[in-house]
């Protein structure tokens, strides 16, 4: 076996021992390597949070931007150079909280990118406040009497917006999750993987055991082409379903842009056509 080209050597990893993020890191590097992707052609885009540090530990290009803003960045990277494989990966607070508006509109755009959300149902980096996916009653330093908001349902929302690929996975299940990640990365169009991940430090409720006990894969006869069925599964809470809920092939964003109609080159290979500009200016007489 050759060495995995996606493993970045010598990182000082800033996660807590036992954190679910380690498992995700490993699965990601394996999934990328098995897909035979090229690190030089792969860009990881993230926001800020514990999950959002993952690009620092993978041997790829990265754009580790602002909290909540990975998706617009990733969309533009993909559009500006469609030859790149683009993965937007961050935490649940980042993607569904601060970045919620980008989440819904990115799905509407359907750029060809993979959106992986480490869903630990808590804000890790800022030390344990509720995230949009925190369960009702979950007590935190900021919600001392427990969360009173309805948990955000990323799958339901994505299916409502006719996202082209919608899946949920749990880091505890290595085989299945690696497979789901690979399907998502291979999928042409926007692909969401809501990836359940225990935060051993700040979320004592949703532990490895809890996820084991409270998740179950979609039935084998689940039809990912059936949107209503996918939705019905997505709103089930007990257990939370795992697997690929929904998929639909649709035209991708970047290909439909006027700016690619006649010129297919990535932007960095283009130069302004000054003669054409001269002509255009001439039209203003």
């Amino acid at each position: 076996m050759t060495a995995n080209p996606f493993i970045r050597e010598g990182c000082d990893i800033a996660w807590c021992p036992g954190c679910g993020n380690f498992g995700i890191l490993k699965l990601m590097s394996e999934a990328l390597a098995e897909l035979k992707l090229d690190p030089q052609q792969t860009v990881m885009v993230s926001g800020i949070g514990q999950a959002a540090k993952i690009p620092q530990y993978l041997q790829t290009h990265f754009f580790n931007g602002l909290h909540g803003r990975a998706l617009p960045v990733a969309t533009a990277i993909k559009a500006s150079n469609p030859t790149l494989t683009v993965i937007a990966e961050s935490g649940d607070g980042d993607m569904y909280g601060e970045g919620g508006n980008h989440f819904i509109h990115c799905i509407r755009r359907n750029p060809d990118l993979t959106n992986i959300v480490h869903n630990n149902m808590v804000y890790g980096l800022t030390k344990g406040q509720a995230s949009p996916t925190s369960q009702r009653g979950f007590a935190t330093p900021l919600q001392p009497a427990g969360v009173i908001l309805e948990p955000f349902n990323p799958l339901g929302v994505a299916i409502s917006l006719d996202a082209s690929f919608v899946a949920r996975a749990f880091v505890g299940h290595k085989e299945q999750t690696r497979d789901i990640l690979q399907q998502a990365i291979r999928h042409r169009g926007y692909a969401l993987v809501d990836l359940l991940q225990p935060c051993v430090t700040f979320n004592k409720l949703n532990s490895y055991q809890w996820f084991e006990a409270n998740t179950r894969y979609l039935d084998p006869d689940h039809d990912p082409g059936d949107r209503s069925q996918a939705f019905t599964r997505a709103i089930e809470e007990d257990p939370l379903r795992l697997g690929v809920f929904y998929r639909k092939d649709k035209p991708v964003f970047e290909e439909q842009l006027d700016g690619f109609k006649t010129d297919k080159r990535p932007l960095y290979q283009r130069q302004v056509d000054l003669a054409e500009l001269g002509k255009l200016v001439g039209e203003f007489t």
Binding site: K53, A79, S80, F260, L277
Partner: protein
Amino acid sequence: MRAQPTFNNEVSIVLCGEAGQGIQTIETVLTGTLKASGLHVFATKEFMSRIRGGSNSTSIRAATSPVRAYAERIDLCVLLDRDAYPWLRPRISPETLVIGDPAVFADVEGLLPLPLTELAQQVGEKIYANAIACGFVTALLGLEPTALEATLQQMFDSDRDVLAKNLRAARLGRERGEAAVSKKQLTCRIEADAGVTGQLFLNGSQAVGLGAIAGGCNFIGSYPMSPSTGVLQFLASYAERFGILVEQAEDEISAINMGLGSWYAGGRAMVSTSGGGFALMGEGISLAGGMESPMVIHLAQRPGPATGLPTRTEQGDLDLALYAGHGEFPRAILAPGTLEDAFDCARQAFAMADASQSPVILLTDQYLLDSSYNVPQLPIPAAPHEHRIVETAANYRRYALTESGLSPRGIPGYGRGLVCADSDEHDQAGFITERSEVRVAMVDKRLKKLALLRGEAAVPHRLFGPKNHRRLLVGWGSTRPAIEEARARVNDPETAFLYCPQVYPLTAAVQQLLLRAQRLIVVENNATAQFARLIQRETGRLADADWLQYDGLPFSVENLETRLRQEVCS
């Protein structure tokens, strides 16, 4: 009303009506006709934040020599609607020829009657009042009918019937106009300049859009907001022709982050927005600063705070542009004053952003964007923009420390290296660090780049008037033509005008001029003298006077002329 109206060298025409009545069409037709007749033409509009109704107007100056600024004086005032009248009242003098439908404006003394409703009915529909008015006005000015006819032909060439009706309407108007001329003994002595007909005629939004293309712009993600939308829509309409990726973002935060993503991947991106949207972009601008990403931000000013006056003009966001974004990093702010400047500053904004790997803000305003006039040519560069992206080597480090503070900029997928861009404080390779010595080195690295923006890469100032002046008027952005014209009119041997298209950072040359002036007068379209404060902050030099206006309207030439005369006499 004057008995024997005479227009010498110049005429100032104002047309006003409700939104939706077609003022925009009249403006296009009339300015086209005037220019085709060999006159220099300036037009600017003011309009309400509504789609129908209200009161809008367009002010047109036509002259023997170039005109580029708003003037208050009205020679011909065409009233298409009752509600518009009170808004224009203050600008109407005894010399003004007020033209309107006698059925509607029975009470206006000295009205030059033009039965618009009646005539339009003859043609078929109310909307033909526009062509009638154009025919009438061109007749008053003694222009050849062919120019108007040709303009209409061009405009309505897709629909024969509509064209025929417009031509008929124009003729009806012209006949009335000719009759009025002979009756009033109106004389018009505005000589044509044959050179004008071949010149360009465009507005500020178009000039900025063209300049952006010249700068290599190939990506714009933005959210509509008056008065910045024109530039966005301009680029959208040429997206295919110039290979520009255009996307309407869900909000301004998405827009600027898209822009940064595009630069990262090798694009040349810009965003276009106004104050409120720009305020939302502050964090993204800070990200550009921290990540050392080039970024071009077009900030089209309108009066604030908050929603303010969405369709009016002000220079109230300089302070904001100067400090938007948390933390410390360099930036440049360019504020063009003419259409040529608008084109050139837009182009230069890309070059400066690219060269300095920093955000550059292009600061315009509603007045500049919505004003149009003829210009001989735009300064199209001889060669396309420099290609500053490096092909990366395997050991590429995005933030390598160098003498100048600039690290060669690689992009993913071009070369063998990895491009690691980080929003946290980072080391040379782009990885998160908290080591204080690295922090200090990175702050110093980033701040060093200001020297480039202040020096080599800077857009130079212009000085109008005597080199040996005692009194210096200072202006930035859209006030340039009005100050220029007022200064030229007064033509005081001791007064010069310093125009700063680069408002930040101030170049050494500008600082010297400011410090040397004996009397410093800063002219600004805002209430708190923001540029005067910037000068004070940068040089310690206090302005001796601030000439301010903040009612949502641009400075008129007369306003500045009067102030300058008072100033010169006192």
